[in-house]
Symmetry: C3
Subunit: 332 residues, 3 copies
Amino acid sequence: MAAFVPPNERRVHSPHLPLGDHREAPFYGKDIISVSQFTRDDLEYIFGVAKEMRAMVERVGTFDLLKGKILANLFYEPSTRTSSSFLSAMERLGGSVIPISEVTYSSVAKGESLPDTIRTLECYADVIVIRHPEVGSAKLAAEYARKPIINGGDGIGEHPTQALLDLFTIEEELGRVDGLTVTMLGDLKYGRTVHSLARLLSLFVVRLNYVSPDILHMPADLIEELAAKGVSQKEYTNLDPVLAETDVLYVTRVQKERFEDLNDYEKAKGAFLISPETLQEAKEEMIVMHPLPRVGEISLELDSDPRAAYFRQMEYGLYVRMALLAMVLGKA
Amino acid sequence: MAAFVPPNERRVHSPHLPLGDHREAPFYGKDIISVSQFTRDDLEYIFGVAKEMRAMVERVGTFDLLKGKILANLFYEPSTRTSSSFLSAMERLGGSVIPISEVTYSSVAKGESLPDTIRTLECYADVIVIRHPEVGSAKLAAEYARKPIINGGDGIGEHPTQALLDLFTIEEELGRVDGLTVTMLGDLKYGRTVHSLARLLSLFVVRLNYVSPDILHMPADLIEELAAKGVSQKEYTNLDPVLAETDVLYVTRVQKERFEDLNDYEKAKGAFLISPETLQEAKEEMIVMHPLPRVGEISLELDSDPRAAYFRQMEYGLYVRMALLAMVLGKA
Amino acid sequence: MAAFVPPNERRVHSPHLPLGDHREAPFYGKDIISVSQFTRDDLEYIFGVAKEMRAMVERVGTFDLLKGKILANLFYEPSTRTSSSFLSAMERLGGSVIPISEVTYSSVAKGESLPDTIRTLECYADVIVIRHPEVGSAKLAAEYARKPIINGGDGIGEHPTQALLDLFTIEEELGRVDGLTVTMLGDLKYGRTVHSLARLLSLFVVRLNYVSPDILHMPADLIEELAAKGVSQKEYTNLDPVLAETDVLYVTRVQKERFEDLNDYEKAKGAFLISPETLQEAKEEMIVMHPLPRVGEISLELDSDPRAAYFRQMEYGLYVRMALLAMVLGKA
């Protein structure tokens, strides 16, 4: 089995590197595996590119930055939201997509290993997005791949592009991240998105509030990890004490499939519903976010409130994923 | 829940409207939901564009009219014929497609509502085709969408693009619609396509014959609706009395899945088979149509008869769908 | 039912033939159904085009040779490797793809015949790749189609593009085919790929060794067929006697699904494992090939050996399929 060569070393001097000006481009040829790989400078760079992508999409819709490039969109489990977002991102950049969904990925049924699958796909594609139910799968894929790998979610592990779009949403909507109070609400125990977002936020000066039912607390090790970085964190079992100070209310879905005991699910489900009434004491300029899909956590009546940012959040995701694709392919 | 704002009002003054000459373009930014939304002038306009599309495809194959535009092809139930037709239409116009089939649409499994799904997809796409098993779903989608929605079939409700391609086939094959005798044969009770086509034909001066088994009559309310518009309609239980006068013989599949009693299906199935012998007394210039797939209603021997128009009908569908996509995106 | 008109006759004088220089182009408008259709000259022509494709991909990634052309990728059974390869080939040539997987092909569920399906799809596409579990299905499709059909595998029948890429791999890796000793190992009874490759190799001056367990011998009729062409063939039950003379070691997967008796499978499975130790007595310049996916027949430790050609083999497949698509569409 090949020893792990860090992908960044491996690919910067790729023989396929075209002549030109992007040898110095940050992220060129790199993998996007974990939020922990990013510095604050990285985030500023990514968001700068994402802003340019937004401007271009609003002006011309699509453009041919990645014309001739092919993305393999490898989804071992269904996630049409993420899958469609990457697909649209690649198409808006003029590239092409090989969509591979779990249903049709027959080689897996035939017993093929993930490394072999990756080494096959990189014969056909220039970049691979992988969604896989097992923690560590994206990292494993990156160890074997010569082409850039983007983690589209590895089970209860990471979903770094979701965290990046969440942070980009905050910056675009509120103009800054430093100094904000971010309240995370709902299922904080199993919610992969809040874990990753909290880690990214730890690069900024923020105050974090965690509001959850008793059985769904933010994991203790993550709280310790962030405390060690000096992040101010507080835990609550309801929203009332922190609503007025909240700049970002990040609501998560209570995911039935994460529960071992269905009674726990039923208890948690109805307890944290956000509606226009809930927000009466909230700031004028705060925003409500949600990774979607929602299943009752946010009432439909809230949709017309300008503070409801969850559909705009989807759109920011498009720009962030366009930025990442362009960057790892050396075209940002 | 947002009150319904008619989509036409909503989008004509869209801030995204590019400068140029298509502000006056009919159907720009509109939804295609039901055959009842079309006037005779509309049909002439659509067919004029479809004729241009046909000429362009025959001359150059594809062209870049919709380059940079993305279609979300959202199919909650499988219908590869319709799905492939829209996909090809978008690609022949230089646009891109996000294909979403029922199998992979995981958010639905997670309990997401149709409006949320639509609002997510319109972050990624410029136009959405929706196929859904429930009547009214396309209309519901259009109420929430900022982008144009095209109904690709909503259960036993409508399938307007099929009706449009059927009518376009008649006009292209026979050179006119006024003055024709159209005989519909087979399952007229459950056959969505014949209902929609009959409604469209009521905008012209035609004679309609309905030939069906007793248990599969054309619905009484539809007959009344068309009678009120002055359409000449007659019912029969076999083809003999009307074959000689028929200009268009529209054959429908006896759909097993529509029957509650399988005995009824077996009786109906074999009773209305069209073969070369059947057409011996028919006109030279008449045509035989079928929405396909056929399962025994038309014998393979008929395929080489020039009056067999059902495969050409598929091709007309491509041109009509190209026309609709270009029109709603303001590029016709 | 239409009498069979050989497709080559049928389409050479197609009214759709554009003016220009490719009337004389070999394979223009033709079907790719079986390895038995190729002469040695044909193979040289195909490989010449494939070499050009390789050079173009390495230089520019993609190019617009098939811009405006649409491929229908019709897979009645899953085979993502073949499917992705054709998809990537078409996209690298600037064309578009209608992907149709078995799961979504609803018309088949509704009882539509293969000829009707093909005649529908050719309304939307310019070329059709078909993968189907039944022997003869690609030939049947070609009999009805006006557009070129490429056989992507018809059950235990043929998989001609796999055989072509296997042969192209040999020529590219070793610089020639004549004079080589090719040893086929593993499941030679059910292995479609080795049957097709052996037939192609019979056009060259080669020595073939067949190494298999007793129950998985190369079929007697194929041995007779090749013997009649003067090919030197020998059978063995283990690799030792022929390893040292072998230029190409073609390893096949022991396919569980081909076995009627699972005990036979278990016996065969472990018996023919290739590892670095196995190759100690092999030549320096030989190559190890495998159609992939592998399930234990070749140890991962072999991957870093330069003689391990199986991942490069995938990549050659891309170039061969690009060549075939360009050729049948008259653009090579």
